[in-house]
Amino acid sequence: MKGLLKKDLYMTWAYSKMFIVLLLFFFVLSFFVKDSLFFLAYPMIIVSMLPVTMQSYDERFKWNVYCDALPLTRAQVVSEKYLLSLLYCGAVLLLLGVVRGAVLLIQGQSAAFFDLLSVLILFGFVGPALILPFIFAWGPEKGRLAYLIFIGAVCAATVLLMNRPLAQTERFGSRPIDVLLALILGALVFAASWILSIRLYQKRAL
């Protein structure tokens, strides 16, 4: 698996340098904007999609087929993408959450700090956890489409079932307990997604 990680790090550096520039740009920008949550959450969304991008490249180069001929199991191939996700999101969480969070704490904005952490954790865990099973089951193109349909259906169902505006849920995130809840919820969704992706990818004919 170390070899796969190394390959993806080379590929990220070659194909996704712009993401890193973008991330730093949003990070710096967040210091100058009053409501900076969007500017801090957006880089996390971008970074959490990097493993999906890497999987798309793998399929384009037929590396995924070649992996089947190497001493690797499909479970290892899937697990590496989830590990990559944790690495990237962990790095962003460290940069944005800790560095930017420390500034917020110094400024006495503890609620904003917890907000930031909750949002970063949820986006970091839940974003890739939702899309990766689709990608491993059907490939990047069909997987992305299935993911969009799924997200659309979930949003529609939420609005219909809750019968109230989504804005009311925005109170979540500003207390320390919310950070813990986000962490537990994110980790559970992430782990379930990881197991599901392994099962789906093992069944897929390449």
Binding site: G3, K6, A14, Y66, D68, A69, L72
Partner: protein, 280 residues
């Protein structure tokens, strides 16, 4: 011991069915010959556990090809019909990645092969020619102490000089008696130079699998007229093809009349006549 053994294997796709019984004795080179779509790649995927058979069993290097097969691939060097490295990686980076995938990766051997095959280590894969890409795949397959090489069309798209270099590398590989090679190709001349055994695959069925020299010694070609063909014993004539210049008959030498002038047959003619020829 056999390097691999395929028994009663069956794999069905819409419009295609592969039925195969095949074995490769250890230390030998087996050439799998077949036209496009004959089932060569399907057979190779089943051997590597990349695909599951509908029936039958496959054993490679003494291990059944099942869910626990992945570690056995440590001992198998593979070249697929299309080199599949990421475009942005250099040969040096490919080596670095493979070092962490294969426990027995031999970095010195890889460096030696890159030099021998004139592959620049710092050039990106996307900037390699088709021949260089294939040579890089071959260098990887030969750099982790494999006992079995499985090569799917490794010489296709290569110029004659590169093909000759590559064929020489495979010959070199089997100088160690414990090593075996399965090579599929429709460039029959390469296989003729290299193989101990040949297997003909046609529309998913195995036409024959024989020792190459014995096969070439057993068969011959006779160029004659239709009238002359009629005078030949039915048991001696395997297949017949007609052209503007007369009839070409594939003859079993042991059953042909002694006075008959029989031309030695090459693998390519043998294969083509077997596929395209008709029974007498």
């Amino acid at each position: 011991m056999n390097a691999f053994e395929i028994k009663g294997l069956k794999k069905c796709y819409p419009g295609f069915e592969l039925n195969l019984d095949l074995a490769l004795p250890q230390g030998c080179i087996l050439g799998l010959i077949g036209e496009n779509g004959a089932g060569k790649t399907t057979a190779i995927k089943l051997l590597l556990g990349m695909s599951r058979p509908d029936a039958g069993s496959v054993e490679v290097l003494g291990h059944p090809v099942d869910d626990s097969f992945a570690p056995v691939r440590e001992e198998i060097g593979v070249v697929l019909d299309e080199p599949a490295f990421p475009d942005c990686l250099t040969a040096a980076q490919v080596g670095g990645v493979m070092r962490d995938i294969f426990r027995s990766w031999d970095a010195d051997e890889y460096a030696r092969l890159l030099e021998k095959l004139a592959l620049p280590a710092d050039k990106k894969f996307k900037d390699y020619s088709r021949g260089m890409k294939m040579k890089l795949s071959i260098a990887v397959a030969l750099s982790h102490g494999a006992k079995l090489l499985i090569l799917d069309e490794p010489t296709s798209g290569l110029d004659p000089v590169v093909r000759d270099e590559v064929v020489e590398l495979f010959s070199e590989f089997t100088r160690d008696e414990g090593r075996s090679v399965l090579i599929s190709s429709h460039i029959v001349s390469d296989l003729e130079k290299l193989c101990d055994y040949v297997a003909f695959l046609h529309k998913g069925e195995l036409l024959l699998c024989r020792e190459k020299d014995a096969l070439l010694a057993d068969y011959g070609l006779v160029l004659c007229t239709k009238e002359q063909l009629e005078s030949l014993p039915v048991t001696a004539v395997s297949k017949v093809s007609e052209s503007l210049f007369g009839v070409t008959a594939l003859i079993r030498r042991d059953q042909a009349p002694e006075e008959l002038s029989v031309i030695p047959v090459g693998l390519e003619d043998l294969f083509v006549t077997m596929i395209k020829g008709v029974e007498k």
